[in-house]
């Protein structure tokens, strides 16, 4: 019996442990799909926060071990491919955010929620700013910045909501209570 349980744990448990590390990516793909789909919002689309990016930002800030640089590259690639944008545009923006968050890692560990929100806002501005700047360079003229600014503002405003939801997802998957600090990943 113990052997069977061991085998089950080895086979299924191991698989499940690996599968749960894919949950952030699955969340991202789902939210990106929602963002890309024809919601009939028209001009109001500018007020729709970029939930897909905010989700990745949460995992970069709180659990960076789940977001290594190659994964961030693939996320940027997937974004560009689905949105029909010039290839490389979102990759640059995501990698820039990765660089900022990685460099602020020691400070982030010591910060409370408001401080992390501040870091997130900085990262959001960097993400949309990068996209706008590189797109302008790509088309060799200044792209209208208003929509990017509006989306950046809305994403920053709704970040606490995304943070809360993703924190609960993490707590559910890794079997912990929804606590603010995570001793495993903080300081990683």
């Amino acid at each position: 019996m113990r052997t069977i349980l061991f085998l089950l744990d080895f086979l299924i448990g191991g698989v499940l442990r690996r599968v749960r590390t894919l949950v952030p990516l699955a969340l991202f793909v789902m939210l990106l799909g929602f963002d890309a789909s024809a919601l009939g919002l028209g001009r109001r689309l500018a007020f729709l926060p970029d939930f897909a990016f905010a989700t990745i930002l949460f995992w970069l800030i709180r659990h960076p071990a789940l977001m290594p640089v190659p994964v961030v590259f693939v996320i940027g690639f997937w974004t560009d491919a689905l949105m029909g944008a010039p290839m490389g545009l979102s990759i640059i923006a995501y990698l820039t955010v990765f660089y900022i968050v990685s460099n602020l890692r020691p400070e982030i560990s010591a910060l409370g929620f408001m401080g992390r929100w501040g870091v997130a806002t900085l990262s959001i501005l960097a993400y949309f700013g990068c996209q706008w700047a590189f797109y302008s360079a790509f088309v060799l003229e200044l792209a209208p910045p208003l929509q990017s600014m509006t989306r950046a503002g809305m994403t920053a405003l709704t970040f606490p909501l995304v943070y809360g939801v993703n924190h609960l997802v993490f707590a559910f998957l890794w079997g912990r209570g929804p606590q603010l600090e995570d001793p495993i990943y903080d300081g990683a």
């Binding site: 789909s37 024809a38 640089v69 590259f73």
Partner: protein, 332 residues
């Protein structure tokens, strides 16, 4: 053997450490390279884009259909005052349209009579458009033209690249260059094709350039999408506009254009059928003329992909090259 392996590890370790340290910068360089490559060759990444679109298409369809259903439900809960006001407005429009229809009937009869006494048979853009309009109403085909109903599953009309994704692809014989229309007019053309989805470049994208006829003065011109939006006093909101390319107009041509002039495709490029409605001239200044598209891109859901017999992708490329079309993301 073990010693040899240890030597290799010792030799490779600094390289790996260096790679890990500078991985972000290296990948950013790779991404910049991709962007530059995309700038030089707009087809770069096309296969990857359509592979992702094919994989996501059913998923996007679920969101889009759900959203359409929600919109339908909310439409039902409109207030009585709104419906009464709309009803009144529609009645007024019907009266005007009835009057116009009578005039059109008279003009058609007169036209037919005049043609009978003319020695040469010819078909004008207006005839072609009339055929198209009747075909769209009745569901018939025009000549060898094939029409396929599609559903917009992803809307990027408000993003950097103005395009939409439709749920038809190579499996349904959709191919690059086909025109996409709806009941309001020309929507765009198919730019990239996957197995079960296709990306449509909208006419409002700056990389879309279409040969047109400005009907009343009978001017041949090109219209192009613009990157920003302009405030429209009529709708009191920011709208996307098309710009009449001045490079192909004489100064006196611009003077001949008036606000309200209908703009239709000329079919000169062999890509779009002639006579498709693009929009109406909304503003004319000394420097430029703007066209308001007839299609409401904010509520784009069902479209028709039109396999017009005249579609020739090479002709498209030639037309594009002939006008010095700047290399860009929407170029085919």
């Amino acid at each position: 053997m073990a010693r040899r392996r240890r030597n290799i590890t010792v030799a490779v370790s600094p390289l790996m450490a260096w790679l890990q340290r500078f991985a972000v910068f290296l990948l950013i360089l790779v991404a910049v390279g991709m962007l530059v490559w995309n700038r030089m060759d707009s087809r770069f990444g096309s296969n990857a884009r359509m592979l992702v679109a094919d994989m996501m298409s059913p998923f996007l369809g679920v969101f889009s259909q759900s959203s359409a259903s929600v919109t339908q439900v909310t439409e039902r809960f409109r207030t009585y005052e709104e419906l009464a006001s709309e009803n009144q407005q529609l009645r007024a429009e019907v009266r005007v349209l009835n009057a116009k229809a009578q005039t059109v009937e008279q003009l058609l009869a007169e036209n037919e009579r005049l043609r009978r006494i003319l020695p040469v048979r010819y078909q004008t853009a207006a005839d072609e458009q009339w055929n198209w309009a009747r075909a769209l109403e009745s569901g018939r085909s025009v000549g060898e033209t094939k029409r396929m109903m599609a559903f917009v599953v992803a809307d990027h009309s408000r993003r950097y690249v103005r395009s939409v994704l439709i749920n038809l692809g190579r499996n349904e014989s959709v191919r690059q260059g086909l025109a996409v229309v709806n009941d309001q007019g020309l929507v765009g053309r198919v730019r990239e094709v996957g197995a079960s989805s296709a990306r449509v470049l909208l006419i409002t994208d700056p990389n879309s350039q279409i040969p047109v006829i400005i009907e009343r003065p009978g001017l041949n011109a090109f219209v192009r999408g613009t990157r920003g939006s302009t405030f429209d006093p009529e709708t009191r909101s920011a709208q996307d506009f098309l710009r009449v390319e001045q490079a192909f107009l004489l100064p006196q041509d611009l003077l001949a254009i008036e606000v309200g002039d209908r703009v239709i495709t000329s079919g000169a490029d062999g890509v779009f059928p002639p006579g498709l409605l693009i929009g109406y001239v909304s503003q004319v200044t000394d420097a430029e003329a703007q066209v308001r598209p007839s299609v409401n891109f904010d509520q784009l859901s069902d479209v028709l992909v039109v396999d017009y017999p005249g579609v020739d992708i090479n002709a498209d490329l030639i037309a594009v090259g002939a006008v010095g079309f700047q290399a860009g993301i929407g170029e085919d």
